[in-house]
């Protein structure tokens, strides 16, 4: 059951109107970060596990000490960059619900950004899907918001507790209609 009197969050976004208040902010479930976090951890571990045994590899010993040092730093920085990129992507891919509209910020890859918005009064239908072992286990799924006219439909991917998000958006849209 959604809170009937949502409190404004201390969040501001660039397209915010003067009297507009952000009620909810949702982002992808933190569990969806596990694959890249595990991969990043393994890639970092590989470099430290490799070092003690590096003398067994002729290609590595044929390099100068300076080159080995630079390559090790390059590897660590590349892995850290991969981690930073994924963290930023998770953090800024948000779904905002204000007292007037909903906004969905999606990133495809890292350099392409898609921002979709819909007025609460134009929302016609809200649905959500939740399936698969992980989505059921960690309670996350997709929420779909259909809007009137030619406005782009909004898809909120892998959000935590999709049933609650569905309920919140439906309640706010119905309050606007009344």
């Amino acid at each position: 059951m959604a809170d009937q009197s949502p409190k404004p969050l201390p969040i501001q976004f660039i397209a915010q109107n003067p009297n507009e208040q952000v009620y909810y902010l949702f982002r992808r479930s933190f569990v969806t970060n596990l694959p890249w976090m595990v991969l990043m951890f393994m890639l970092l571990i590989i470099s430290f596990v490799f070092l003690p045994y590096s003398e067994q590899f002729s290609f590595w010993t044929s390099l100068s000490e300076e080159m080995q040092f630079i390559l090790l730093l390059l590897w660590i920085l590349a892995v850290c960059g991969y981690g930073l990129m994924n963290l930023v992507r998770w953090y800024f891919e948000v779904f905002l619900v204000t007292d007037k509209r909903v906004l969905d910020i999606d990133m495809v890859g890292f350099l392409y950004r898609n921002v979709a918005e819909a007025q609460l009064k134009s929302i016609q239908d809200v649905s959500h899907t939740q399936g698969g072992v992980f989505q059921l286990l960690f309670n996350f799924g997709n929420v779909y918001i259909q809007t009137a006219g030619t406005v782009q439909n909004i898809e909120v991917k892998e959000v935590s507790n999709p049933g609650l998000v569905h309920d919140i958006v439906t309640d706010l849209a119905s309050q606007i209609d009344e």
Binding site: Q12, I14, M67, I70, L74, L84, I105, R113
Partner: protein, 83 residues
């Protein structure tokens, strides 16, 4: 092939090793240069995203992005000096 001689040129003159004596070092520097360009794009994207959605954590991420550019640029300079 062994008789290929025009104006005293032979195949031996076209050795890549002769043209690029430190090819592997150049490749490493180029890879770091690419990473530096990529880090700049990452930092710029973070700054734009932080402008779009102003949060406290966003400013920390922005600082991390700037630090990452600094680290990669330092590595680039270090590689040019050491290699």
């Amino acid at each position: 092939m062994n008789n290929f001689h025009i104006l005293s040129l032979s195949w031996e003159n076209f050795s890549l090793a002769g043209l690029l004596p430190n090819a592997e070092k150049l490749v490493v520097i180029l890879v770091i240069l690419l990473l530096a360009v990529f880090s700049l794009l990452v930092a710029k994207q973070i700054i734009l995203l932080d402008q779009f959605l102003k949060t406290k954590m966003g400013s920390y991420l922005k600082a991390a992005g700037v630090f990452y550019v600094f680290a990669v640029t330092s590595l680039l300079i270090l590689s040019i000096i050491l290699l």
